[in-house]
Amino acid sequence: MQDRPDLRELLECVRDFLQNEAVPRTSDPHLRFRVRIAANVLSIAAREIELEEELLRKERRRLLELYPEAGVVVPAPDAVQELKRAVKGLTERLARELRSGQMAAAPGDPVWSHVRAALVEKLQVANPAWLKRTGKNQ
């Protein structure tokens, strides 16, 4: 167990430093643009720490509805890394089967809904403001 600031707090303090101290003092417009991007990248990382496990569990649940037999092999992974490996494996399988035609997706069917939900989950981490603005968070 580490002392505080914890991981999220560390990221947030660097982000605030970039945004509030570095950006206003950077006169080169290119550099300022990239400093803003760097601050935004840290916001993404902080949100990912917060949401990662919850989103992976949701994603895995949906993938198991598409591939029920996969749940028998790896019943309920505890560690986030294990969870990630399981989701990655099934996602790759889905991509391969969509490509080969073994799986198909049409608007509204379970495969389509799963893939769309996974994109929304990515953007809850990467760009929640965009999701809200475009009304695509549904």
């Binding site: 991007i37 969509l98 990467a126």
Partner: protein
């Protein structure tokens, strides 16, 4: 990258040989460039000989990688820009081009410097460009009609579809290779690719396609469109590719409600294009190419992030694009769903 002094010194030596004269290179300053190329303003003076005179130029210098593998070389872009100028398209004049790596280590062009705004977000927001925003849709329609009327017979290097093949499928075959080069698999791209392949509309009369026709690749002043830039993704293809591209969600630069480039509903743009080109815009093809546009830009984001991840070009800007692909994939899926429910 080299220091400005080093670039000046090497350019002066190169240009002295080219122009057979003493050449002075001065006032280098970086401009807003693209992700694959740097743009540096510079002033040139050729002291004597047939090219004697002062030149307000911009140096377009290749960076490490390419966004799409199919992008053109500088020599090809040089020829294309000359042809575009002859066809009445507003383009900067090309002063010099060079593909000799011993000069700057990278390919480059020196173009006429045209002042104005190229940053999409600023074109959409700037107070002094209000009149420009009103004029741009029609001006863009007219310019695009001229581009699509260009004679591409002599431009043999442009990628083009097989005879009888829908132009979209040529694009998709190239995209397939790029998907296969990514490290991760993407179900949404697979869904999109399949749908796009099956729905590819016929393209009876292929034209010269600019390939990246949107705000951000135009030089804009208070009176509107000054110049069409960034021709490196040109090909022979379906005119609807260019027509649909500025409608793509991300090219509305945050002003999503304005479907055309974030500045209008697009009616004036399409009307001006039809009038100037004598071509009918097909509504179904336009919707199709908007979907393909989102698919391509999603893939473009992943490809650029890969340039960072592979170590070819470490950059926080490129890296961050990897997390943006989902925006385009989501828009693509929603547009497909919308088009399916319309039954088209």
């Amino acid at each position: 990258m080299m220091s400005p002094e080093e670039i000046s010194r090497r350019l002066a030596a190169f240009l002295s040989r080219e122009a057979r004269s003493e050449v002075e290179v001065a006032n280098l300053r970086p401009l807003a460039g693209g992700a694959s190329r740097a743009a540096i303003a510079l002033d040139l003076e050729v002291k004597s000989g047939p090219q004697a005179g002062r030149y307000a130029g911009v140096l377009r210098l290749d960076l490490g990688g390419k966004i799409y593998e199919a992008s053109l070389s500088r020599a090809q872009e040089f020829r294309l820009l000359r042809e575009a100028g002859r066809a009445g398209v507003n383009v900067p004049r090309v002063f010099w081009g060079c593909e000799d790596p011993s000069v700057l280590g990278r390919d480059f062009l020196i173009l006429e410097r045209i002042e104005g705004e190229t940053i999409g977000r600023k074109i959409i927001d700037a107070k002094e460009l209000e009149e420009a925003r009103r004029l741009l849709p029609r001006q863009m329609g007219v310019q695009l009609a001229r581009i699509h009327a260009m004679d591409f017979a002599a431009l043999e290097f442009l990628p083009r579809p097989q005879p009888e093949e829908p132009a979209a499928r040529a694009v998709l075959r190239r995209a397939r290779e790029e998907i296969d080069r990514l490290d991760d698999l993407h179900p949404a791209l697979e869904i999109g690719w399949k749908w796009l392949w099956e729905q590819a509309p016929p393209c009876p009369r292929p034209v010269l396609v600019h390939g990246d026709f949107r705000l951000g690749n135009l030089m804009v002043g208070p009176e509107g469109l000054r110049s069409v830039l960034d021709w490196e993704f040109s090909s022979v293809g379906d005119p609807h590719e260019d027509l649909a591209w500025p409608f793509v969600l991300d090219w509305r630069f945050g002003n999503e409600a304005m479907r055309f480039a974030g500045i209008s509903d697009g009616a004036g743009f399409l009307e001006a294009y039809q009038k100037a080109s004598g071509r009918e815009v097909d509504g179904r093809s336009l919707r199709y190419w908007e979907i393909l546009g989102n698919f391509r830009w999603a893939l473009g984001c992943l490809t650029q992030a890969n340039r960072h991840l592979s170590g070819k070009e470490r950059s926080v800007e490129l890296a961050s694009l990897g997390r943006r692909a989902a925006e385009m994939e989501l828009e693509m899926m929603d547009l497909i769903a919308g088009s399916e429910s319309q039954g088209s």
